[in-house]
């Protein structure tokens, strides 16, 4: 089943690792949000069980947060970095659109 993970608002030259059930799904040493669209980077993961735990590590900021998400149908998970330095998660069953 499709799990689309999108890094969205708040990233600025961040070193990001995304793990799904402890398996590395995305590694990018320089993630920056394009402010015109609120989009930074994304990865599609094919998952075989639900729920899964998505962990995001921002090493430069020393942020590690995880989030459990059900993937019983195609699922879109948006991850944003808030001004307070924490991660905000948004789950949707429709693809994200950027403008």
């Amino acid at each position: 089943m499709l799990l689309h993970i999108a890094l969205q608002e708040g990233f600025h030259h961040d070193d990001v690792r995304v793990l799904v059930d402890a398996r590395e799904a995305l590694v990018n040493a320089d993630v920056t949000t394009r402010r015109q669209t609120g989009y930074a980077a994304s990865v599609d993961v094919d998952v075989t069980r639900s729920p899964v735990v998505v962990e995001v590590v921002l090493s430069k900021r020393r942020v590690i947060q995880s989030h459990s998400v059900s993937v019983d149908r195609p699922t879109y998970l948006g991850v944003s970095l808030t001004p307070e330095g924490t991660l905000a998660w948004k789950t949707s069953h429709e693809p994200f659109g950027y403008l």
Partner: protein, 750 residues
């Protein structure tokens, strides 16, 4: 006149829209309304336009009309007479009056254009003071504001059906200076001009107009009309024109995959946009294409953050998700047309430097808005995502009136031109200064000052500002005693000309015991701010012009200072250029900020070199102070042995506190040279507040090391006055006596 007719017709149509059964119309529709709209652009110019020759004698020289008094409607005067009222030194003056018509913001903004590219921009929030008169406080200033101290504006307009005879009398007052009154001639019902060009990729149709009632999900009160993109921006206040002829961009320009990358669009813009130029201009290119490289998830983008002139081009992608109506939608075709139209207006909004509604508040490393912002996540604005509000896109469009938010309108109508104009300020730089919660009638005013006639600094000279918070109200106010030294309550913006604004981040925050302090009407509190360097590095270093502005965050409002522009001069010679390589380091910044260090030896070596090689320069005063302070008293140093510099706990590293003995004689020489030998120069560069502070430290050090102070008879009243006003002369006299007393003793060494 044609424009005015159009606007007046729209005004009446708007009035008819507002009139609903059971509700009294806000504007009498019949008979012919007696109130004409007055919003728009008013100008005065030194370029004298001769009047059209008319029969009869004409004066050889234009005769200035008498200066009208506030509240009195002046008699009519020809524009050429008005133009002569500008004083020498000013070339042009503009007023944007925003009190009626579409979405009135009750604001006025003015720009004074001077010689040598000098200009001042101000914005005031207005309240009506008469049928055609308004008054308000100036809450924003930008540019060369040193000669513009005014705090209040009063505006009176004359109204006539002849646009050429309409005028505004602008009276500026406050700030401890003479009242300034000018008469400006009505020029346009629009605030600014802009031109658009719509081009399409092969096989793509541009959606530049829609029927507002085509889709059933809409506000019940939404007028039924055919709305164009041009009309949307006319309602913002722009006189919109089309540039060139809308053309077809061959799909081959997008490469073989028919998708567009940002670079491909930028290249196409240079070729197909009839107005392309490498400069700032009120002109925008809009491309309608099928898809971006990112695929269907990207509905449109203001792609132009490339090169030196940002925000000149946007694109809308017709084959993206914006062309997929929600399942079960009542009119999918109309939904798609509306979404494409909405997306075009949205992307064009980015070209005017508008951020998304939820992006106005963000961390400093994103770049710095002019003053702090508040997010508008539920705004029914072109700049919000419809599907992100509570209730999703259905809720959004059921309450969407095809407009921008009030804050966005204020920004586009009244912000300084360079913040908004395409190709001028970089994308996201200054994108929404308008949202600080400044009070329209503030009781406090914050002034930024420097202790010198002109705000020009020598190369390498650190910048120390004096902050002055004055109670301008009529009642006593209680503020925190240390309010101005609590930098966590401030946002300090440093903007080098032609560079993005930066937020000054101090090295340290100080936690003070809360102490209330009463500031009586007319009284003030002051403090200093060492501004050149902080956690962001050296914010003020390179030669050039810098603008500084501070927002002080109080419990219920923000106090926004005037903008202060200062200049850093070029290096005097090779020595300064050479030393700069070591001087603009983190170590030197920390030493200067904390008034000395016994640990940062490299930085101290640089400062010693400064005192030797640049002994007559202002930076040497700062260097001597920083070198003197650790020498003047016992100094504790955490000695980590071989593990100095490692990230290890003191216990693990076997660290111990080591005491460094004072070297009072060296300190005395450095302090004397910095503080006593050239007092005026020292005050100018250190700032009066810090100068007094250093004098106090010097005196304390002398006393600690054996100086005998002359006993003075106690005088409570005099002492209180000295404490309140800072009596530099007295402190200097005390220090000189203390130094004399030390001369009579053996050199002190402990």
């Amino acid at each position: 006149m044609k424009e005015q007719d159009h606007m007046d017709q729209e005004y009446f149509a708007e009035a008819a829209d507002i009139a609903r059964p059971g509700a009294e119309p806000l504007i009498p529709l019949f008979p012919w309304p007696t109130r004409l709209r007055v919003s728009g652009l008013y100008v005065a110019s030194r370029i004298v336009t001769p009047p059209i020759p008319a029969p009869g004698p004409l004066p050889i020289q234009p005769i200035p009309i008498a200066q009208p008094l506030p509240g009195i409607v002046p008699t009519s005067a020809a524009p050429w007479q008005i133009e002569e009222l500008l004083p020498w030194g000013l070339l042009r003056e503009e007023l944007r009056l925003d009190v009626d018509g579409r979405y009135p913001q009750m604001m006025a903004s003015g720009t004074l254009f001077g010689v040598l590219a000098k200009r001042v921009h101000w914005i005031a929030r207005l309240t009506a003071s008469g049928p055609y008169a308004w008054t308000g406080s100036i809450w924003f200033k930008d540019g060369d504001v040193a000669g513009f101290p005014y705090t209040t504006v009063d505006i009176t307009t004359t109204t006539t059906f002849l646009a050429s005879q309409r005028k505004a009398v602008v009276r500026l007052s406050g700030g401890g200076t003479a009242v300034r009154t000018r008469t400006l001639a009505f020029k346009s019902p629009y605030f600014r001009q802009v031109e658009f060009e719509f081009d399409c990729a092969t096989g793509v149709t541009a959606t530049t107009r829609i029927g507002t009632h085509d889709h059933p999900n809409r506000p019940a009160t939404l007028p039924n009309e055919t709305l164009s993109i041009e009309e949307v921006y006319r309602r913002v206040g722009f006189e919109v024109r089309k540039s060139g002829s809308d053309s077809i961009v061959p799909i081959g320009d997008a490469g073989t995959n028919a998708r567009w990358s940002d670079n491909e669009m930028h290249d196409a813009m240079q070729v197909y946009w009839s107005r392309f130029a490498g400069k700032a201009q009120w002109s925008l290119w809009v491309l309608f294409a099928k898809l971006h490289d990112q695929g269907t998830s990207l509905g449109g983008i203001m792609f132009d953050d490339i090169g030196p002139n940002h925000r000149q081009g946007t694109a809308i992608f017709n084959d993206s998700f914006i062309s997929t109506a929600p399942t079960g939608d009542a009119n999918p075709a109309a939904w798609v047309e509306r979404m494409r139209f909405w997306t075009a207006c949205h992307e064009m909004g980015h070209a005017f430097n508008l951020a998304h509604s939820w992006q106005k508040q963000h961390p400093p490393d994103w770049g710095t808005p002019w003053i702090p912002l508040a997010n508008e996540p539920e705004a029914r604005s072109f700049m919000n995502y419809p599907y992100n509000v509570s209730g999703g896109q259905t809720a959004f469009f059921s309450d969407f009136a095809y407009r921008f938010s009030d804050n966005e309108l204020v920004f586009m109508r009244h912000a300084p031109e360079r913040f908004v104009q395409m190709g001028n300020a970089d994308w996201f730089d200054h994108h929404g200064f308008e949202q600080a919660s400044a009070s329209p009638e503030p009781s406090l005013t914050l002034n930024l000052r420097v202790d010198r006639a002109q705000a020009t600094y020598q190369f390498l000279e650190p910048v120390v500002l004096e902050l002055k918070l004055t109670n301008i109200g009529s009642r006593p106010l209680v503020v925190e005693k240390n309010l101005l030294s609590m930098t966590e309550h401030m946002t300090v913006i440093v903007k080098k000309r032609d560079k993005p604004a930066r937020q000054y981040l101090p090295f340290a925050r100080y936690c003070h015991d809360q102490q209330a302090h009463v500031v009586m009407p007319g009284e003030f509190v002051t403090d200093s701010l060492f501004l050149s360097v902080g956690r962001n590095g050296w914010d003020i270093a390179e030669p050039g012009y810098y603008t500084i502005q501070i927002a002080l965050h109080m419990e219920t409002e923000d106090i926004v200072s005037d903008a202060l522009t200062l200049r850093v001069a070029p290096p005097r010679g090779y020595d300064e250029e050479f030393l700069a390589q070591d001087f603009f380091s983190d170590d030197v910044g920390r030493i200067l900020n904390f008034d000395g260090s016994a640990i940062l030896r490299g930085g101290n070596d640089t400062l010693r070199e400064v005192t030797d090689r640049l002994s007559d320069r202002a930076v040497a005063y700062h260097a001597r102070i920083a070198l003197a302070a650790p020498l003047a008293r016992d100094y504790k140093v955490l000695d980590m042995g071989d593990r100095m510099g490692e990230m290890a706990s003191a216990k693990e590293a076997g660290g111990r506190l080591r005491r460094s003995a004072p070297r009072i004689e060296e300190a005395r020489q450095l302090y004397t040279s910095a503080l006593l030998e050239k007092k005026e120069q020292a005050i100018a560069t250190l700032g009066r507040t810090d100068y007094e502070y250093y004098l106090g430290r010097f005196r304390a050090a002398l006393v600690e090391h054996g100086a005998v102070l002359k006993k003075e008879p106690r005088d409570m009243k005099r002492d209180a006055k000295r404490e309140k006003n800072g009596d530099i002369e007295h402190t200097m006299r005390v220090i000189k006596e203390a130094l004399s007393s030390l001369k009579d003793q053996e050199p002190v060494s402990r």
